[in-house]
Amino acid sequence: MIRFLLRRLLWFGLTLLCVVSVSFFLMRSVRGGPFDNERTLNPAIERNMQARYHLDWPQWKQFLQYIGPLNLAEDGAELVGGDGTDPFGGILTGDFGPSFKYRDFTVNDIIGQSLPISVSLGSIALLWALVLGLTAGIASALYRNSKTDVALRLAATTGIALPNFVIAGFLVILFVFLMPLLPVAGYGTPKHLILPGFALGAPFAAYIARLSRTGMLEVLSQDHIRTAHAKGLPSRLVLLRHAIKGGLLPVVSYLGPATAGILTGSLVIERIFAIPGTGSHFVNSALNRDYTLSMGVTILYTVLVYGLNTLVDLAYTFLDPRIKLEES
């Protein structure tokens, strides 16, 4: 267990280094900088601004500065933090630096404000995807080849086939315009999260339904289920106590990718429903060449995806003792 976690940590460091260096150099090798505007700045001002954020340094030096709490400036001048006074500590200290576009904010501020919103949206989507997907999948497996099963499978395949913004469009037409029950967009009350959560979770609900159906069917045909039936256990107990645990394994392993997918999907959903989450910052910061914000969001997502994948692998071993952690 400890060895597994340590090894994971090692790979995590490697992955993160990969992500950070690739995106760092990619971004900086592109033409255009964070201070480009329609109005061209006075060259002297631009030089000053570049110097303020150390953008006039060679790239390797900027990179080292970005990573660690080093002070590489020859005159000892420290890179400014968000409010212009704190020194910038480097990402190893958990400081993502000042945002280049939102001058008065640090990247940490921006993430701190927007992440809770995205997390609440994402958890609602995941929760609802799990509840709906599992119910549909298990029902479909229990009533195999019945009309319910066929209808549920068709619904699931359609859910996988449609992009989430189309689903969102239908939902808005249905629940906002035809039946004015919910607000069309914005953020604030729990009501605002219902439609976006639903639209975001729908494809994943569909996929989970498919996975749990297959998993349940496989488990239901196994010997220990027959034994349980034979010794006279009520069907409900057979299902709850013996079948579900094994049948849901595929779903558990899908949770990692699903979370990654929900994070990605929220880029679109947040835009449609005007939700001020982290997703909107991603595309905008890349387009604006807001180097630090873009890096910050990328690192955040990498950490989230990696951490959740590790959690899923851990959960797996608890659910199925046959699986060993030592990946060979």
């Binding site: 992500v19 086939a161 992009p163 189309v166 469009g169 037409i173």
Partner: protein, 361 residues
């Protein structure tokens, strides 16, 4: 023992011919014939296949069909509702306006004008806010979307199969290293790398086109393909890992075949069935991804049209004053039906080709 065998097989000419004709009467069934039979037996998949072929045919022939131009703008205040075919079949308002078509498509449009003149179908599915015909845009858009899907999928196929096959064949330390790399790539949120790459490509598009002759779309295909190969590599590697211990590989090695030959001539054809299944599942994923990128404004660019763009157009006009349902329903239906068919076909193919199910019905 050998004596007996020799006697039994020491047959005269006529007997031999009899035996051979007997053999000829029983036709063996290859994996592919068997799979084809199973696929035909599976009604849903068969319909899906027929639907896809018909739709593919229509989209291939789009320039010849009497469709209105997908880009001719007719500035109107608001989108025009659909006109049912029985109300008005067509009219003589064709305007020849397209984006830069290639030579083949140009001559196909010539052919269309030769056959139909200026006659065109009415707006059976309505028009968008700029007066462009939705039906025509859906069909022309399908060309773009299908092309993106196929090109990107082939790209992922090439990388994934070679990587997986090499990794599985060499095994041991090389395999371990290669698969670890895949693991690392898996945990990178690729979408973000793609967004970076595409913004970069946008920045250098003129240089790319002038000095390399590569247009943005090609880069687009390659970038998408380059992120969808991971699963393919894993699957192929797993298959090859078990195949490389089989006799025919040993035989090939004994004859002195090189590693490259064994991998690409002997092993790869044996994993084709599972690869095909993954292909049919990758194509829908790529189409969705194209839609996603188009939504973010990073995909196909107007005046060219793709399904992603159509879906974006549709979801943009949602407003409480008037609901232009045809702008969202028809593109969504076309996209949904195609992706549904691909998914069903993929499932059917998996059942048809799955060796575990072979010999059972």
């Amino acid at each position: 023992m050998s004596q007996v065998t020799r006697e039994r097989w020491d047959l005269g000419g006529t007997q031999m011919e009899e035996l051979l004709s007997d053999v000829a009467r029983f036709k063996g069934e290859s994996l592919w014939q068997d799979a084809w039979r199973r696929l035909k037996a599976n009604r849903a998949s068969w319909y899906a296949l027929v639907f896809l072929m018909i739709f593919g045919g229509i989209s291939l022939l789009a320039p010849v069909l009497p469709l209105p131009s997908p880009t001719a703008i007719d500035l109107q205040i608001e989108p025009q509702p659909p006109v049912a075919p029985w109300q008005e079949l067509g009219n003589d308002g064709f305007r020849r306006e397209y984006w830069d078509l290639n030579a083949l498509d140009e001559s196909l449009v010539d052919l269309r004008q030769l056959i139909f003149g200026d006659w065109q179908l009415s707006n059976w599915m309505g028009t968008d806010a700029k007066g462009r015909d939705i039906l025509s845009r859906i069909i022309w858009g399908s060309r773009t979307s299908i092309l993106v899907a196929i090109a990107a999928t082939l790209c992922s196929l090439l990388i994934g199969v070679s990587y997986g096959a090499v990794s599985g064949f060499f095994g041991g330390r090389i395999d371990n290293l290669m698969m670890r790399i895949v693991d690392v790539l898996y945990s990178i949120p690729f979408i973000f790398v793609v967004i970076f790459l595409i913004t970069i490509v946008n920045e250098y598009r003129t240089e790319l086109e002038d000095s390399w002759g590569v247009n943005r779309e090609v880069v687009f295909y390659v970038v998408i393909g380059a992120i969808y190969w991971l699963t393919m590599a894993r699957v192929v590697r797993g298959q090859v890992l078990s195949l490389r211990e089989t006799e025919f590989v040993e035989a090939a090695r004994v004859i002195g075949a090189s590693s490259a030959r064994i991998v690409f001539v002997h092993l790869v054809p044996n994993v084709l069935s599972i690869v095909i299944v993954y292909l049919t599942l990758t194509i829908p994923a790529v189409m969705l991804f194209e839609a996603f990128l188009s939504f973010l404004g990073l995909g196909i660019e107007p005046p060219k049209v793709s399904w992603g763009l159509l879906a974006v157009d549709g979801s943009e006009v949602i407003n409480p004053v008037r609901i232009y349902w045809w702008l969202i329903v028809f593109p969504a239906a076309a996209m949904g039906a195609t992706l549904l068919a691909l998914n069903v076909l993929g499932d059917g193919l998996r059942d048809a080709l799955d060796p575990k199910l072979r010999g059972k019905d």
